[in-house]
Subunit: 232 residues, 2 copies
C-alpha cells in the first residue's frame, strides 16, 4: 500500500489548464517507473457555469452548486484532498470546503506564503489575472494583511488581458496575444510592481513574460503544494 | 443540460500517456469557450500493478482487481462510457467490461476498423508495441480474422523497444532512444510491413517514425473514437 495521498482535481476551468496542471504534476515527481507518480483523480468538467459570466458579466448561473457536486463526487471516489487549478474559482472555495470533509488547497494562501519568502520583501504585487479576480477582491485583502498590495492593470488594459484569456480558452492564441500579455506585464513593471503573480491558469499556458522582477506562476505554486500535500 | 456523454478514463498506464491523451482530447474538439469541450473524469492511477511485471516477467501481481475497482469507481462517479489509453491493459478488457454496466471502448477493434479503411489493403502490420502485447496475443488473432498479420520485431529487437518504453515511463528519453525507435520501425518496413500501428501509449509520446507506409497511432485512434462516442 502506498502511503501517499490521492489527489483530487476540481478541473475544467479551463480544461487545457487542468491538463497542463496534471502534466506539471507528472513532471514534478522524479520517477523510475509509473508507480512513483501520484495517484490523481481529475474531474475535468468544462461544463461548469462560466465564472466570467457569473462574476464579470453578472448574467450567468452561479457555478457553486456544480463545484460542490464535483467536490463531493471526488471525495466519494476516495481522494484525500482537493486542489483547484483555477484562481477565479477560489472565490467559491469557502462553499466548496464547507461541503466536504477533506482539505482543499488554497492557492491564495499558498501564493502569499511564496511571496513571504522573497527578499527584499516586495510590496506592489503585479497581478496577471482575470478581471473577475480583481472584482471579487480574491487576493486584495489577504495580500494587504501580509503587507503586500495587489496591483492590477487599469480597466481598459485588463479588458485586453481578458481577451488574451478568452483566446487561450478558445485555443487560438496568436503571437499578438503573447505580445499583449508581455506588454501588459512590462507596463505594470514600469509602474512599480516589485513582484508578479500569474494568477490565472489560462495565462499559465502562455510563455511567461520576461521581467527583472520575481514572477510566480500560481499553477506552479499549486503543483508544488499538491506534491507536498500528497506526501505529507 | 448537455447532450454529450461524460468520458471516463482508466488512466495511469503510464500517467504521462494519460495526460497526453487528455491533451489530445482538448485539442480534438473545436471550441470557442470551455463549455464546448468534453466532460472527462480521469482516474490517473500510476499505482496499478505493473503490466510488464505481470505479463512479461510473470512475477507481478494481477492488475485486474485494481482496474475493475477503478472502472466501478468511474461508473459510480457518473461517466457514461470508459476508455483506456494503454494497449497492454486491453488484455484485461473482458474482465473490466464484465464488471460494469457502461460501454468500454476497445482499442483493438478500433485499430482494425482504421486499417480496414486503408487502400490498397495492407497485410503485414508492423507492431510498435510492448512485448506484453505480443506475448498475450492481444492483436494477433483479431488482426488475422480481418485478413491482417501482426508483424513484430524479433525478440532481441523487442527487448530494445521495451527499454525505450521504460525510458518514457522514467521520463528520461534521450535522442538515442528516439533513434532506436526510428531504426526498429524502419527495419520492420524493410522486412515488409505494409502499415504500422503505434500500439503502446508510451511510444505515442515519442516523435512518430518517418516511414513511407501508413502509420496509425492507437492513442489518436482512441481520441477520435472517444470524441465520437461522447457525441453519439
Amino acid at each position: 500500500m502506498s502511503v501517499e495521498k490521492t489527489v483530487g482535481i476540481i478541473g475544467g476551468m479551463g480544461p487545457e489548464a487542468t491538463v497542463e496542471f496534471m502534466r506539471r504534476l507528472v513532471e514534478a515527481v522524479p520517477a523510475k517507473d509509473d508507480a512513483d507518480h501520484l495517484h490523481v483523480i481529475a474531474d475535468n468538467n468544462p461544463k461548469i457555469p462560466s465564472r466570467i459570466a457569473a462574476l464579470i458579466e453578472k448574467t450567468g448561473e452561479d457555478p457553486s452548486p456544480v463545484l460542490i457536486r464535483m467536490a463531493k463526487g471526488l471525495e466519494a471516489a476516495g481522494v484525500d484532498f482537493l486542489t483547484i487549478p483555477c484562481n477565479t474559482a477560489h472565490y467559491y472555495l469557502p462553499a466548496i470546503a464547507g461541503a466536504v470533509g477533506i482539505p482543499v488547497l488554497d492557492v491564495v494562501a499558498l501564493a502569499i506564503a511564496k511571496l513571504n519568502g522573497v527578499t527584499p520583501k516586495p510590496v506592489k504585487i503585479g497581478m496577471l489575472a482575470s478581471p473577475a479576480v480583481r472584482l471579487v477582491g480574491l487576493f486584495d485583502r489577504r495580500l494587504s494583511a501580509s503587507g503586500f498590495e495587489a496591483f492590477f492593470p487599469d480597466e481598459e488594459t485588463e479588458a485586453r488581458l481578458l481577451d488574451v484569456i478568452r483566446a487561450v480558452k478558445a485555443g487560438h492564441v496568436t503571437p499578438s496575444h503573447q505580445r499583449t500579455y508581455e506588454a501588459i506585464a512590462n507596463r505594470l513593471a514600469e509602474d512599480g510592481a516589485d513582484a508578479f503573480l500569474v494568477a490565472c491558469t489560462e495565462l499559465s499556458l502562455l510563455r511567461p513574460p520576461e521581467l527583472p522582477q520575481p514572477l510566480f506562476d500560481t499553477l506552479d505554486i499549486l503543483v508544488e503544494a499538491t506534491v507536498a500535500a500528497a506526501r505529507s
